[in-house]
Amino acid sequence: MYGYLGKRVNVGYDSRLYQPTLYTLIAFLGLWQLLSLFFSPRDLPGLVHLAEITYSVVSGADQFSFVEHAWITTQRILVSFVFIMVIGTVLGITMGVSKYKEFLTVPVMIFLTFPAVVWAFILVMWFGALTTYFVVVTVTVLAVTPYVAVNIWKGAESIDDDLLEMAHSFDLSTTAIWRHIFVPALMPFLYSSGRLAFALAWKLSLVAEIFGSSVGIGFVVHYYFGAVRADMIIAWSIPMMLAMFGIERALKIVEKRSFAWRPEVDDVHSEVKTA
């Protein structure tokens, strides 16, 4: 789902490209509706039924308070996001420009391959499932930070030595070099990392909540998993998915504005890199 939505975001505001996107969306919803005819509404709800239960969830008619659980999940995502970006950026720059990179590259690569579920189980065993932030945030940060670090690392490596030589020949201060060369050169990578971090933080917080929390959207999803209610799982996920989609899109627009210096918008740097 994310890949599909992500693609749509990248199209930006070129209206010619909206049309095909719209067709795809209609085709997707049509297919959904068609498939739902062959399943019980509890397994795969039709569009109308889905809209109804989603509305009931959001309006607070469900047995779990949407505001309460969504708020907790949002806080966890935001807190994780801040940690991920700060730690990831510092690690990435260190890997890219400093002599300590040899010490960091292998550990970061190993962390990158470590499944989030394993983190979740380990941390729940060590710290229990009752912490409000600690377990979920830690799992998310541990799982997502390596992606950001690698992304920023590539950015730091791509900084042009010739520009630094120019800066030295004109006696620019270290502050000026950071402000006018390092930070702007890393900007595209910071934006793409930020969007990636948001998308992954949302998914992984949910995974972590399923295993490690008694509150939050992941917890509710887990409850309905136990109750064998696929329709409720989907209904609980949709509002957050839409919110994440909106945030992704907003970030993308801010990003485009800040790159007015580029002759034409090229998405090479800002493409989300999950590899």
Partner: protein, 267 residues
């Protein structure tokens, strides 16, 4: 071999004397690469001084040392009659590539090198306007570099170097990546600037006709890191790029160059 006549002229107060300059790089495999081997350079005040030599002979290294971006191993530099550290030489550097910050406008790129100096905002403003005027880019102040042509970007590079009001302009093959027509325009503009500002220019090029067209003096470096020839170019100005007299000088210099390369290769 080095021509000392300029040094002996007493009125060249702001001349540069480099003596016994050496630089050796240690390559990744640990091998020593002698790039500059005990060279002496004398550049008179306001002179247009060109350094020529084959690729990799150390021309950029020489300029980088004068700009203070890499340290020399050995040698002395004297400027205006007293010893000076290369980091204190009043230079502006123009590179082969424009080396602009693509995320800053033309005006901001120039302003960047002014901010580090003790200048008021209005003084900076005046400088920016001045130098952009000098290179004919006053209308492009708000443009981003990537929207300009290669020749215009190189002009911004020149404006930036002029902005710090250096007595010495270091230019490392500044026109070599431009098409010939654009390069010719820029060369003429550079000569006009040189004449009006009376700056000392130390210019590096591969291109013998460019060297003869522009310079008062041409110095040849060889691959062993030594200066093996220096010529004064005495043709009257303004010069014509395809003037047969210039072509003759070029041919004579090329012959000297190839003869020398043949002797060092046969050793």
């Amino acid at each position: 071999m080095v021509n000392r006549t300029i040094a002996s002229e007493g009125d060249d107060l702001m001349s540069i004397h480099v003596t016994n300059l050496s630089k050796t790089f240690t390559e990744d495999e640990g091998e020593e690469l002698v790039v500059l081997d005990d060279i002496d350079v004398t550049v008179g005040d306001g002179e247009f001084y060109t350094v020529m030599g084959p690729s990799g002979c150390g021309k950029s290294t020489l300029l980088n040392i004068l700009a203070g971006t890499i340290p020399m191993d050995r040698g002395e530099i004297e400027y205006a009659g007293s010893p000076i550290s290369p980091t204190d030489l009043p230079v502006g550097y123009v590179f082969q590539e424009p080396r602009l910050l693509n995320w800053r406008t033309v005006g901001e790129n120039v302003d960047l090198v002014l901010r580090e100096r003790d200048l008021s905002k209005s003084q900076r403003e005046e400088r920016i306007v001045d130098v952009l005027e000098m290179v004919g880019l006053h209308d492009e102040r708000e443009s981003y570099p990537l929207r300009l042509s290669g020749g215009m970007r190189q002009r911004v590079g020149i404006a930036r170097a002029l902005a710090v009001d250096p007595s010495i302009l270091l230019m490392d093959e500044p026109f070599s990546s431009l098409d010939e027509l654009t390069a010719r325009n820029l060369r003429d503009d550079l000569l006009d600037l040189w004449k009006s500002t009376e700056k000392t220019i130390i210019f590096v090029t591969h291109d013998i006709s460019e060297a003869v067209y522009l310079s008062e003096s041409v110095t040849f470096l060889d691959t062993r890191g030594r200066i093996f020839h220096q010529s004064e170019i005495e043709h009257d100005r303004p010069r014509e790029p395809d003037d047969p007299a210039l072509l003759e000088t070029e041919a004579a210099l090329m012959k000297t160059f190839f003869d020398h390369m043949a002797t060092i290769q046969s050793v």
